[in-house]
């Protein structure tokens, strides 16, 4: 896998839309992005305002707080993803939240967000996630109930040579010693970093 820990990302000329009901929290993200070299950052406080911005302007990435509009932030993301005529359907979307309960993280993943960034965020943690989205693009998957980035992170190999995708590689691993973890157990290991 490509090591991007020290990779630089070029944000000049890109447009960001921050959708956060809290103007002060939005100011922090805005300031961090400007520090990274972003030249166009637009803020919206409501889904309606965000839709207006998306109608009028070209936006390259959106960061959304799920507490938007009394907790309807994730529904807002889902509405963009599920609309086949929406030009921003495949735009990268990050969920920015102080609520890092497992249920919230899963809901963010299932609404079609690319990544979750925990608030309060540090410049390094946001940089790392922007870098990940840029250097590890994921295919989008469309099913009857989901449209968004592939929720399976690529794996390097499975016991017994069983791969889930043609592109998955093989790695030498130890013999299995017990039952495999359930999906819930695996999901519980997926934590957002500050």
């Amino acid at each position: 896998m490509l090591d991007t820990r020290n990779a630089a990302i070029n944000l000049a000329g890109l447009s960001f839309l921050l959708v956060d009901p809290n103007p002060h929290a939005s100011t922090i993200v805005h300031g961090i992005l400007r520090g990274f070299g972003a030249t166009r950052v637009v803020e919206a406080r409501t889904p309606d305002h965000a839709i207006q911005v998306l109608t009028d302007q070209k936006i390259d990435m959106m960061l959304v707080d799920p507490s938007l509009a009394n907790g309807r932030g994730l529904a807002f993301i889902r509405s963009i993803r599920k609309d086949p005529n929406n030009p921003f359907r495949t735009m990268p979307i990050l969920v920015v939240t102080a609520d890092t309960r497992t249920s919230t993280i899963k809901a963010a993943r299932d609404c079609g967000a690319n990544m979750v960034v925990a608030k309060p965020m540090s410049p390094a943690s946001l940089y790392e996630r922007l870098s990940w989205v840029a250097f590890h693009p994921r295919n989008f998957v469309e099913t009857a109930t989901y449209f968004g980035p592939d929720r399976r992170f690529k794996i390097e190999g499975l016991p017994g040579g069983v791969g889930r995708r043609a592109g998955d590689g093989q790695v030498a691993i130890a013999e299995e010693e017990g039952p495999a973890m359930s999906q819930n157990e695996i999901d519980s290991l997926l934590q957002t970093a500050r």
Binding site: N6, A7, A8, I9, N10, L11, A12, G13, L14, N22, H24, A25, T27, I28, G31, I32, L33, R34, G35, F36, G37, D60, M61, S67, T90, M91, P92, A98, D99, K119, P120, M121, S122, P123, A124, L126, Y127, L130, S131, V133, A134, F135, P137, N139, F140, V141, E142, T143, D150
Partner: protein, 182 residues
């Protein structure tokens, strides 16, 4: 965009403008970009500190008012929750980690009680009110959380107790009527 379909799902290869531009040459070196972002936060700190200070005053007032357990109790808790949310999102980013921690705990406690449809745990909330007053006093103001391990461990313990109480309330509510009677 290239798409591959297998009947139950369709996989679409996406190469968006963000990725193309972000990977292009001419970027600020990573460490410089992060340093500049920290400088931006330093520039914003006075205005954010003013906001946190105001929210802390509102939070403290709401928590003290909530101690009366009068007919406006739910209003005071709602006010405390709104102030806590606002502080939680910001305080840590400008170096007020203790205040941010207390606010985050209060959000968790109130959300947990709401989700379980149980009474707000008065003793736990009062405990956080006292911790907030301490955090806002001169010797503690701006002190990093890592320098107060006993205080943070104690407060975390009260949050765990609240969650355990909520689980018991939820389990009791879900139990069949016969089990409830016994």
């Amino acid at each position: 965009m290239k798409a591959v379909s297998n009947g139950t799902h369709r996989e679409i290869e996406v190469d968006d403008d963000f990725g193309r531009q972000a990977r292009s040459p001419g970027a600020l070196p990573r460490d410089d970009a992060i340093e500049r972002a920290h400088a931006e936060l330093t520039r914003l700190k006075p205005q954010l500190e003013e906001h946190v200070k105001l929210q802390c005053q509102q939070l403290e007032a709401a928590l003290l008012a909530a101690r009366a357990r009068d007919e406006k109790h739910l209003v005071h808790i709602a006010d405390a929750y709104a102030a806590s949310l606002s502080i939680r999102d910001i305080a840590d980013s400008i170096g007020h980690s203790l205040v941010g921690f207390i606010a985050a705990n209060l959000c968790t406690i109130i959300e947990t009680a709401d989700a379980a449809h149980m009474d707000y745990p008065a003793a736990v909330i009062d405990c956080h009110c006292d911790a907030l007053r301490l955090a806002l006093s001169p010797p503690y103001l701006g002190k990093p959380l890592r320098e107060l391990p006993e205080l943070s461990a104690g407060l975390s313990q009260t949050v765990r107790i609240t969650k355990a109480m909520a689980e018991r309330v939820a389990a009791a509510a879900a139990a069949p009527p016969a089990a409830k009677a016994s």
